[in-house]
Amino acid sequence: MPDPEWARALERRLAALGVAPTRRAEIIAEVAQHLAEASRDALDPREAEQLVRELARIERRAVLEPPVFGKARHTLMTTLWQDIRYAARTLRLNPGYTAVVIATLALGIGANAAIFSVADTVMLRSYAYPDMDRIVALNEMTRDGKQMSIAWPTFQDWKAQNRSFASLALYRGAAANLTGDGQPERLTAAVVSSDLFGAMGIPPLVGRTLSANEDTPGTARVAVISERLWRNRFNADPSILGRAISLNGDAHVIVGVMPLAMRFPSRLTDVWLPLGPVVPTFPQSRGVHPGLYGIGRMKPGVTYEQAAADMDRVARHIEAEYPATNKDVTVAMVPYFEQVVGSIRPTLRVLIGAVGFVLLIGCANLANLMLARAERRQREIAVRAALGAERRRIIQQLLTESLMLAAIGGTLGLLLAAWMVKLFVASRPVTIPRVDLVAVDGRVVAFAALLSVATGILFGLLPALRASSPDLLSSLKHSGRGGGSSSRRLRSALVVVEVALALVLVAGAGLMIRSFVKLMAVPTGFDPEGVVTMRLTLPPAKYADVPRWLAFHDELVRRVAAIGGVSAAGINSAVPLEGGGSEAGVLAEGQPIPLPGQVSTVTLFQAASPDYFRAMGIPLVRGRWFTDKDSRSGPRVTIVDESLARRLFPNEDALGKRVAFEFRHDPANPDPAWREIVGIVPHVRHYGLASEPPFVQLYTPFDQPPRYYEERHPTMSLFVRTSLPTDSLTAAIRREVSQIDRDIPVYGIETMKTYIRQETEQPRLSVILLSGLGGLAMVLAVIGIYGVVSYSVAQRTQEIGVRMALGATRRDVLRLVVGQAFLLILAGIVIGVAGALALGSTLRSMLYDMSPRDPATLAAIACVLTVVGLIASAMPARRATRVDPLVALRAE
């Protein structure tokens, strides 16, 4: 073994390079062999120096030489493998570049995959209902577009006269107290006609669905239950059929179990009850719309238009026959799918567009980066092309690299998407249909894969095409400094596009933010902090007697108020922001009793206990609160909201005046039940933050309920102002309730803040997502501007040096560089503003009290982007001003 000094020195240096010991020994042995052949004693230090340098290139740098030689006998697979290995080494050796590219791609593809998984679940993936496009939701509708539920006799006519539907069903949402073994439970139920199961097309998991004879009164009380209830409550008992359960105090025999796929009328529906037992309660008037809704399955071969025309014919027939009730009343039909996704679609569309934009901006950046890299390698590629490398091979090699980056970015993006989706689903958004089904599945993976390939080609092909068509002579002439004018133009165009896309996105985010701020500033009329609400529905059979019904609630309020940590407790028949309630025409004493349909002022009426207002933090504007003296036997009183006071008593003091909302539309016997106004409170938002119908509001003392409530007891909600955590409060309340009546479930437990959060959920999600995407877009665009200006400064170092040598000041140079960047930014902003104006209308449905083309927002965003862009270009421009003319010129 040679062990002279040169060998030890070489050994040390190779070891420092990270060359493996056996390999080191081989190299030294081979050099020793060479020296021996040449009859030389030692490797001289300069040669050793060069050798190590060259070997370093082999081990690290030299591998960057692309294997673009040769074509004969090279199958696609072998060259591909070569290219992949080469790309892998290249990327490993440029960790900074690789990290930037992969991070950009992971964010872009991840955001796209996440949004896709939501959109796919909601809008694209087939629902469990077979031939869902044949399922149609039906309603009655006035010709001026007001929708109503379906009158019972009208539905009978629809069913008898239509020629389009294979199944036409009626349903009504309901709830049922399940009692018996275990804790009482409040179930989401639906009263449905037997055709519902045929219309949805889902067979039962166990037993049978409802049968046609159960649509008529007088049949046994039966129930179909959900798979969820069957498993959770009955441990998937195989002998469940025939078992009787107590619903609302009545025994019902279970005849079937529906699989989880049956999510109609709601995914929470746990029990389907037959129509028969409730048919006798349906009003026989066609003018009464008792909350019944229709759903039907069109016959095979019948188109939606044909069905719509058919139902219109039926409606006209009914209209002609019963003009008194059905004049100008027709059928509202909407495909069931539309009904499910209609409200979320605009938001999803905007988000899909937004993530697409971010990815495009990312691609523009990457294309720029690749272009710059490809140009640095242009000369090498030119030489190789001249030596026989085919253009196809060069493109293949460059594309392999970009596709590999895209594949890695896509994989990471998919992980990111899975994480984001998990987070999103865990936040339990309630306004997105089927959100419980959202997951990153095979379809999302396929989408991400497709997107990665498309992205890789998008940002890789342009640079590859450019780099592979080098004008040999021009490339050699430029002696390694790429960047001809055409590529500078391409680069500039990419920046303009980036700025334009970013502006559109940021403008969208800005609009959403401003709209959201406005929405959050809407006065609710109450103070949600520390308020918990829950519901109790008393079984009508047991509590038909009004005093008994009142006594239960009075006792409940008394007991709850006494719980430690509760500062106020009250009940109300309506829940603010929930959108429900009872409405009626209202008039001031002295006004004539209006005819039906001529009511000018509609009021929401509610029965509230004295402490409801304190519990909800509703301030008293004037007058007094209800007291215990406002009892059933006392004089009728009411508290009204300011809007009622203003509307009915525009120029007078409403206090002490009398109003009525329970009058009959019968001039002979109006029986108005006047109530004296004893207090005035602010208007409380009951229907939502974004939209509130022009209804005024009034409250009656709970112990003086409206007559309507005496006949039909509403579900009462309890409102508790407390410092207790919701769980312990709920437990305490459940204890108190069970001491009054152990069969009453407490349900619907929510804080009022949750109500507000749900109310603002979609805008909040849009704001969060769009702001995030807008911010990302802006960062990417800024990076793009910075990159292009830096590159151009580097390219023009000599020119700048010459200018400075000829007397240009630093300020001149700064102005030159930043001025050019400014032109690009300006072009991007002009195009972006045009784009934002054009796309504005897609945002319209998502904005509250804002024009989607709000000039102030657009102007502000344009300014911000310009300033940020100029700062980004000023940094490399400052570097340009520090060019030493002598150094720059010497490099020539």
Binding site: L43, A48, E65, F69, L387
Partner: protein, 116 residues
């Protein structure tokens, strides 16, 4: 290639080196010193590779699996590393030859230098 009288452009030398090595090991396996000597001799001294440029070149080609080196001990001789052309290398050589031929022909057509 008599017209290559002056110092040969570095790039050209680099670009052509692979072709030269591949050509030399095409017929039979050769060791590094032998390859260097043959290039020098056949180019009549116009091309010269020292240890520092020759071996990295060989290692690079070996890394690409165009040539394959193997230690061989022959009776009465010292241990030497011989390089032979692989199947892949054969393909590359064919491609490079025709590419080079075309390149030279093109250059000649432009510069008007007749082939000697």
């Amino acid at each position: 290639m008599e017209y290559m009288s002056g110092p040969i452009d570095r790039e050209l030398k680099k670009g052509s080196a692979e072709l030269l090595v591949l050509s030399l090991v095409e017929g039979r396996a050769r060791h590094g010193y032998e390859i260097g000597k043959l290039i020098e001799a056949r180019s009549r001294g116009a091309l010269r590779y020292n240890i520092a440029s020759l071996y990295p070149l060989l290692y690079r080609l070996e890394k690409r699996a165009w040539i394959k080196g193997q230690w061989v001990e022959k009776a009465g001789q010292r241990r030497r590393r011989y390089y032979r052309l692989t199947a892949a290398g054969r393909g590359v050589l064919a491609a490079q030859r025709s590419g080079w031929k075309n390149f030279v022909a093109a250059i000649n057509r432009i510069t008007g230098i007749e082939h000697a």
